[in-house]
């Protein structure tokens, strides 16, 4: 046999074994009730079933059965069967339109053509594939799944900052349909969570490859041990060049950013949150959430990974607060490390427990010792902390000393990941990143209340669970999918959030009624790879000044527009687009205020018509008067007429029993009373 024939023969015979192994695996899994592992009395490895020996490590994990009494995702949705592909995947959309896409720049991709990198050649050689030009992009990505992943966004004016595990890309979004790259900032260290304030850009670094000087070379591995000393444990070397914490760049020259400060922390910074004290214009604050290992005290003085009973100064069980003098950012430093998990009665630092049951067994897992992300809402003096095992509510009126005022857990929650407030501060949407974001968790057999949003009512500093929301379309087992980052869409009169679900795409949900959230728009692509789970999908999707931007982990940058449909009108979209901000850091939530324009009143009228709060003839009368006033450019006669109508609407507001409609009627009356041009 020639080599080629041998390969073909092997392909054929192995395909047969693969099929065998696959079916045996399915059989094993169908019995996968708790403790159903087959009894094994002999330790002889040869006794293991052959299928287990041969399980293919690239094949996605088969889904366990849907737990009893639970509902899974909907596999009849058009999003469930989209064609796979990296740049040519099938797409499905409802209520939104894809207006632009830009691939990741080459500087942020692992390329197999990099001659300096022997990894690919070596691997392919071992697998009998000589020509690496045949290697697909998605396979290259498997090799370096996370190292070049796109992450979170920050916005300022016409600039968008897209974080990446390898640095930050700056984009010009003055024409959202034609976004363009301005600058690529190379500075590895993951995950590259970003915030922007004035001329300062902040970036999170958590991994041990982070260097103070933004070098891509990381740190050299140890040389091989000397002969005869192979088994000796060699003491670690603290590196003064390592950086784990929050970097600050000066971006006054957008094409030539400079690093002005780098604040080291013990656990690095997985995420961070910009906090602006309404009473302090001189400084801003950064809340640092660290989730990974505590580095040695030799590298950064005071760091300790001990349990709190062994070391009361442990670097676990806390967040860090950095104070940044805006005029002198180089003086930024940690000013406090609040013990937000403390038990106020006993003083124990580890006062909180995760009450989650799924994916964690039915028992109580570890004490919560970390926050994953914190959303601050300074306008109401509160922050919502998504802190691994718990959802926290913090009083941040003194931003240096946040105080816990409430904490919740949930049996359906695995990992409390992020949070957003409703604009009026009466609700909080938490997300559960079950499986960490790299797993397929939106399959038909995955419960629709696991890896979902949990919507809590917030009243008198107390949180109470009202409902769950999960992107409803079943995804394949080759698509990582779970609840992830989102932001409010500023439609007046409704609570709407646009949210990313990794390879589950973008889902826009209405949670005006916290107990009955529902989807009003979506966009999704097929899996990156048909056969194996290649990490990708939307990390963050945020509304910014009329458009929705998506940070696609593997593919690049997406731009979307909402379009009118059954669940959303053009008037509502127009009213949302009237809200223009000069800066957006989603976790530093800003109160949305709508201008008293007649266009906004049209959105309220659409909603009152939809909920039938006013009879059709009243709606028609109001619309006619509004259009007339717009035509006359707020003519005096028309204004008088509107004012009269405002009084009646105000009466309706007090009469209705529906509090949501009452608010809409009241807001409508206010605009009619004093409309602006």
């Amino acid at each position: 046999m020639t080599r080629k024939q041998a390969l073909v023969f092997r392909l054929a015979s192995m395909a047969f074994f693969a099929a065998l192994a696959g079916s045996a695996q399915n059989m094993l899994w169908s019995q996968a009730a708790p403790a159903a592992t087959p009894a094994q009395t002999t330790p002889d490895p040869a006794a293991k079933p052959a299928a287990e020996e041969e399980a293919d490590p690239f094949k996605p994990q088969p889904a366990p059965a849907l737990p009893l009494g639970m509902t899974g995702s909907n596999s009849n949705d058009p999003r469930s069967s989209l064609k796979p592909g990296l740049y040519d995947a099938g797409e499905a959309a409802m209520g939104m339109k894809h207006v632009a896409f830009l691939k990741k720049p080459a500087a942020f991709q692992f390329t197999a053509t990099n001659a300096d990198d022997p990894i690919v050649q070596k691997t392919l050689g071992q697998l009998g594939v000589g020509d690496r030009s045949k290697m697909s992009k998605s396979t290259q990505m498997v090799i370096a799944q996370l190292a070049f992943a796109n992450s979170d966004f920050a916005f300022q004016g016409t600039h968008l900052f897209q974080g990446n595990f390898y640095g930050v890309n700056f984009y010009d979004i003055s024409n959202p349909a034609k976004v363009s790259l301005i600058t690529s900032l190379v500075c590895p260290g993951g995950q590259g969570d970003v915030s922007v304030y004035g001329k300062l850009l902040f970036m999170s670094v958590e991994m041990p490859n982070g260097r103070l000087d933004c070098g891509t070379q990381a740190f050299p591995p140890l040389p091989p041990p000397e002969k005869g000393h192979e088994k000796e444990r060699r003491l670690p070397v603290a590196s003064p060049d390592r950086f784990r914490g929050v970097r600050i760049f000066d971006i006054s020259n957008i094409k030539n950013p400079k690093q002005v400060a780098a604040i080291q922390t013990c656990r690095g910074s997985h995420t961070h949150t910009l906090v602006v004290d309404p009473n302090d214009k001189e400084n801003v604050y950064i809340y640092v959430s660290g989730t990974s290992f505590v580095r040695q005290g030799e590298e950064l003085a005071g760091c300790s990974g001990e349990a709190p009973d062994k070391d009361p100064n442990t670097s676990l069980f806390r967040i860090d607060v950095i104070k940044v003098p805006v005029a002198a950012p180089q003086q930024a430093k940690i000013v406090s490390s609040p013990r937000v998990f403390i038990d106020p009665r006993t003083g124990a630092l580890n006062g909180l427990n995760n009450g989650g049951s799924h994916d964690k067994g039915a028992e109580k897992p570890a004490d919560t010792n970390q926050c994953h992300d914190i959303t601050v809402y300074s306008a109401i003096g509160l922050a919502a902390g998504a802190c691994s095992g718990n959802g926290l509510l913090l009083d941040i009126r003194d931003p240096v000393h946040p105080k816990r005022v409430d904490a919740v857990n949930d049996p359906n929650y695995a990992y409390w990941h992020s949070a957003s407030f409703s604009n009026d501060g009466t609700k909080v949407v938490f997300t559960d990143e079950w499986g960490g974001g790299l797993g397929a968790r939106c399959r038909a057999t995955d419960p629709n209340i696991w890896g979902a949003d949990a919507i809590f009512n917030l009243k008198d500093d107390k949180l109470s669970l009202a409902g769950y929301y999960k992107m409803p379309a079943a995804q394949t087992d080759a698509e990582n999918c779970v609840a992830h980052n989102g932001s409010l869409v500023p439609v007046p009169g409704r609570d709407i959030e646009v949210q990313s679900w990794y390879q589950g795409g973008v889902s826009v949900m209405d949670f005006t009624d916290a107990a009955h959230p529902f989807e009003i728009a979506y966009f999704d692509r097929g899996p990156i790879d048909p056969k194996s789970l290649v990490l990708g999908g939307q990390w963050s999707t945020y509304w910014y000044n009329g458009y929705i931007y998506g940070s696609e982990i593997a593919r690049g940058l997406d731009v979307f527009k909402l379009v009118p449909g059954k669940f959303l009108t053009q008037n509502e979209i127009d009213a949302a687009s009237l809200v223009q901000v000069s800066e957006l850091n989603v976790q530093n939530q800003q109160q949305i205020k709508w201008p008293a324009k007649l266009a906004v009143s049209q959105a309220y009228l659409d909603q009152l018509e939809r909920s039938q709060a006013l009879p059709p003839e009243r709606i028609a009368g109001l619309r006619k008067a509004i259009v007339q006033t717009q035509k006359s450019h707020l003519g005096a006669k028309d204004l008088v007429k509107l004012k009269a109508m405002a009084a009646t609407v105000e009466t309706d507001a007090t009469a209705t029993s529906n509090p949501v409609d009452a608010k809409r009627l009241h807001a409508l009356a206010e605009i009619l009373e004093h409309p602006v041009a």
């Binding site: 092997r10 192995m14 074994f17 192994a21 695996q25 009730a33 708790p34 159903a36 087959p38 330790p43 287990e52 020996e53 399980a55 490590p57 690239f58 996605p60 994990q61 592909g85 720049p105 080459a106 500087a107 991709q109 692992f110 990894i119 050689g125 071992q126 697998l127 594939v129 697909s136 090799i143 799944q145 996370l146 390898y166 700056f170 690529s184 900032l185 103070l212 990381a218 050299p220 591995p221 088994k231 060699r234 600050i248 094409k255 950013p257 400079k258 400060a261 989730t291 040695q296 990974g305 067994g361 028992e363 570890a366 691994s388 990992y415 960490g436 974001g437 790299l438 790879d529 194996s532």
Partner: protein, 252 residues
């Protein structure tokens, strides 16, 4: 994204597979992977004509210096540099596969050795997560062209340099394993829980050693994996402590 979760089903590591793979005398499972791998390659090769290349760099590539230092501009043909990995990373993955395999072996005894519901539920969970992780680790090694096992081919007791293999931290001795196999009921529960806690604490040491080694843990995938393994096993240790306390109370 705190945890790596694209981990898949368990398949038992073969101590000799690494070298075999190297010399293309591939074992069945390795060939299976190769088939899938090749499938992916060939499919994508066809699609490659459809602009599947990354976007060329269209803007200045700036690499800042340390705080206060000037930035430099990188050449337009800059591409991403492969993630750093050290022999400690590879040894960690190889060692953890072996380590996890013992945990799976221990949990396999549960069904025939105890009726305790808590222990059974916990065992199912440990078995599931550790088998998923073994698959993840094999994939990580395979894609980087590294052997799956640190053992000498054909000589599972020897490492690659021909020295006697050292047990991973926390691994049960043959005596402990044999005692566990012979125990039943409450005695089994006690031995299983204390054994698994010892085992898990060993994994925590392995993670700590990894991050304490210069140059190690810098590959983003291994960083996330080790961070998650640490979090998960800490959680499980606490659960086991609670179950054990309950058992001791009941019997004491």
């Amino acid at each position: 994204m705190p945890q790596p979760a694209d981990k898949s089903r368990f398949s038992r590591p073969d101590p000799s597979s690494g070298q075999e793979l190297r010399s293309l005398q591939a074992l069945p499972w390795a060939s299976l992977a190769a088939i899938l791998f090749c499938g992916v390659l060939f499919t994508a090769a066809q699609a490659q004509s459809k602009a599947s290349d990354p976007a060329p760099n269209s803007a200045p590539i700036v690499q800042p210096g340390a705080p206060g230092m000037p930035s430099k501009t990188l050449p337009p043909d800059t591409t991403g540099q492969a993630p750093q990995r050290s022999s400690a990373d590879v040894e960690f993955m190889q060692g953890m596969i072996m380590h996890h395999a013992q945990a799976v072996e221990m949990t396999a005894l549960i069904a025939s050795h105890t009726q305790n519901r808590e222990v059974r539920a916990l065992g199912a969970r440990i078995s599931l997560s550790q088998s998923e992780e073994i698959k993840f680790m094999r994939r990580w090694l395979l894609l980087r062209g590294e052997p799956i096992s640190m053992a000498m081919p054909g000589m599972p007791e020897m490492d690659q340099s021909g020295n006697p293999m050292q047990a991973m931290p926390g691994m049960l001795t043959p005596q402990q394993m044999s005692a566990l196999r012979q125990a039943r009921g409450a005695e089994f529960d006690r031995l299983f829980l204390t054994g698994m806690m010892q085992h898990h604490n060993g994994a925590l040491i392995m993670v700590k050693n990894l991050f304490d080694t210069p140059g190690a843990g810098q590959d983003a995938d291994i960083f996330d994996f080790a961070t998650d393994a640490d979090n998960t096993q800490r959680a499980e240790i606490r659960i086991m402590q609670e179950i054990l306390q309950g058992i001791l109370k009941e019997n004491g």
